[in-house]
Point group: D2
Chain length 304, copies 4
């Protein structure tokens, strides 16, 4: 398949969507990103990377980092994770807190904020230097030693992150957070602030298209069963409250971030990352979702 | 792959789960089914059917019928459906009514009761004899002219179906039900009362593993895109409030009914139906879910 | 106190509110009432009635009827009522159904629709002719043999009352409705359709200002304790979701209806009824609430 | 009326309730209070105090302090308060956070924790030394210079107060908290830790039975209208999720605390305080509620 031609075509086709979404503006550092940035990178199991547009420019990965911290915690804790976080879609944003209250402080899944905080809490209680552990892990799976936090963004998030403080304290009142909320949020905001390019992200996520194994190094990040389960979680819970719609229209497991990035995998084939900062009303990249829909339609590559 | 051997092995392995679930007892006709019934049938794209246990004994398909009525309505109305029903998981049972209230009478998806009532409403408003249309459709896709409603069960459901009456009237107050609630519920309870065997069901669902086309007759039930979308809906919403868990453990699209049946498909490969009346706390067949988990684990055939 | 002068003054002062509310329009019969109707009637314990404006013109009492059916059921059943309905404010409209679901079909209080349906259910199961019993009771306490249902309004309500059908069926699914929903709704819509004037209503409610006894006839409608409890229920639950605001601004027990009427009592002193069809966003008469606020402010007669 | 005899009788009558409730145990300092403590104090408008049992022993007033901080803020800000907090009952505990979320961070009323935090926030933003201001106010209205915080209890609350931290941060995310959450909680936990006796409390609340004026000093704490409104808020929102039940059974405005105290007023007559540490399932003093029910029944003094 001529992926380069397909990516070029997609870039062309999504162009008219410019101006129909809204760049995240809850912190200044995100608000200033030019809204017309657009890039895609694909990495195939045999190690080839195909790209288009701004695919090598680093951006704020935000919630995409939840896949990485989840993979780290899953590897560490195995199925014990599920005592403290669920695997079900969350319904809708409006329910997040009432669900936590109704379900005794156990978040619905690892990809909503509450769940990602529990995952980060696992990393805090099992590492002397969780920020360094996270950085090491990301650098390894993306083969890029230059990846780093954006400390300004982490600081800015912290100054506006009252809702996340509320979640952490609320779960702590149910004894489902063990570390100090202040320290927890510090690590959380840092991993959300990581800056990576589409190329970095497509490489870093490739193990999920390959039964948990990084193809180039043969290193096993997750077991086959764990990789499958991570993919199913991305499928049912990866796109905030539009996960059903993404499964419906795109048909592959994916995870988005408010920085405008979306990573996705086609098991047995390839990994892909799109970046475009304008978001739809659910907080997912507007052009990004459309680009992935075009990709699975053109290639016929959905999992269904 | 030696499917017969695999099915025999699975039958053996799930046996110890006997007595750990609970047969549906909200109507007498379901309560009297022997709890130890167990059957599996597989139908492959090339038309072979492999079976084990009570795979040829008809049982009450209940909510599995929602896949069939949905396919009928999807074929008829296309994407216009989505004005009146969504494609997102529903969160949890507790939310069903509050979500309807919060979302102006638009059900979350076609596989929760409220959504299935809207789908049935489409069939009522587009057919002179909706019960006959449904029967004709099911008989055709299963190649079994003997399939029929169980009129006693339909009557019994009607006498205990106050919650479904509540849902229909509630949506009608939002103008999202056009037909008379009484007539609507009559059709609804009838299609839920259909009796089919595992063999019937695996055959009838095969088109969803084959891009919408019945392999034997080459008849196109749904377009390729529609079939893919139906599968994604089963994946995210097919197993009541354990859809995430089913995706997580089993990893293929499926739909269950309180009669103890579960249908599922592995796109490009086969369709499968399991039947065992003991249910878990979510209303899904306890042995059925386990059997399907074993099947995808043994064959390595998940979509992820 | 010169009540006539006070009522004249209040009529003057609320005039500028004309056009700021909205006449109920969910059924044609209510929508056609002239929006500028306004009346007040006071009846004192010694039997004097003072009135202003359209105080003798009958209007649709709607939810005010819930006080009467409640009083009938309370007299009949005593404290046994509380097994099937609560005495707490309901929070907000949005919660009505989720609360019913969460609390196993037990409505929060007798003055929300769900609770009033349970109360009407008591009357159905304890009277051969509940509609006649209700009519007899109202005619007696108001000393007006001409009071009657408005059959057109009852019919119209029935045709638009899907949400009430939903509530009745939903509670029946929890075994908290014993009669047939169809018959229950018929009685319910009839008692809501009663037509009475401000003078009728102030007379009929006077027993609640007099420890349960009708002053003129000395007939005991409720015990002293029951009368006190009815007043406390009106205080905490009588004004839909603005009960707190009414207690706060007006400070006496009252009950409103979407026909624009509000009845209220000042224990030991008098009963009062205001009518003005324009409603505020909570469904309470806009001028009516203001008139009662002025009345308690001018007379200094709040219970606090 | 022979209040002394009535109090003696009540003390006798509630004795059999011993052991039917549960002393608050979420912090050690409260858990160690002997469960059989019991006291009542009445203060009449003419300045007489009648007491029984442990009425002079100081206890932790907890949420009763919300009435005092509310009165302070109401005096300071007047009706401007209502831009940031409502006057409606909250429905039930389960809803607290979803309501905050649904209503943009505006708490339902000043007597639930979220609302009391907003009230405390007013005090922080209008006083250089809010803890001292609170102490000065309480000492003045109770005529007792020895009243003080219990610093151990304040510290202990802080160590277990994650849910209150969650509430404060959550409201701050809606811009409805202006001060620093850490400082806010410090003041909040301190005013909840105040220790007062039944005698102190009945004296301190007397102005609410006297149109806002302290009878002995003639000092006007609140205007007549403000006092009436404070009483109506206690009536509809003062007893957590049993406010309706308290209005129903007791029929006077009151406010409880988990330390086992309840204050209440009979406007124009007297103020009363009961203390008994065993709580019912709503967190209100079990004997305390019963004692007040007996008091209004025996004296016939309800507001209705």
């Amino acid at each position: 398949m001529n992926y380069q031609k397909i990516l070029d075509q997609i870039k062309e086709e999504v162009l008219p969507l410019s101006g129909k979404g809204k760049v995240a503006d809850y912190i200044p550092a995100l608000a200033k990103i030019p809204s017309d940035k657009f890039g895609i990178a694909i990495t195939t199991l045999d190690g080839k990377t195909i790209k288009v547009g701004d695919a090598e420019e680093p951006f704020s990965i935000q919630s995409i980092s939840k896949v990485f911290t989840f993979a780290m915690a899953f590897k560490l804790m195995g199925e014990k994770l599920w005592n403290r976080v669920g695997v079900e879609p969350s319904g809708n944003p409006f329910n997040s807190l009432v669900q936590l209250e109704h379900e005794n402080g156990i978040p619905r899944n690892p990809f909503i904020n509450a769940g990602a905080l529990v995952i980060t809490d696992f990393l805090l209680t099992s590492s002397f230097n969780p920020k360094k552990s996270i950085l090491d892990f990301i650098r390894k799976i993306s083969s890029n030693e230059n990846i780093n936090f954006n400390f300004d963004i982490a600081k800015s998030e912290k100054e506006h992150g009252y809702r996340n403080y509320a979640l952490a304290n609320f779960m702590k009142s149910y004894n489902n957070i063990f570390s100090d909320p202040e320290e927890l949020l510090d690590v959380y905001f840092h991993h959300c602030s990581l800056e990576m390019s589409c190329v970095d992200l497509s490489k870093s996520i490739l193990f999920l298209a390959n039964h948990g194994v990084i193809p180039s190094s043969k290193e096993k990040v997750l077991s086959k069963s764990q990789a499958k389960r991570t993919n199913s979680l991305m499928m049912t819970c990866g796109m905030y409250d539009a996960s059903g719609d993404f499964a419906f229209r795109v048909g592959i497991p994916g995870k988005s971030g408010v920085g405008g990035g979306i990573v996705a995998v086609i098991p047995g084939e390839l990994s892909i990352c799109v970046w475009s900062p304008e978001l739809d009303k659910f907080g997912n990249s507007l052009k990004g979702v459309k680009a992935l829909e075009l990709f699975t339609t053109i290639t016929g590559m959905s999992v269904f």
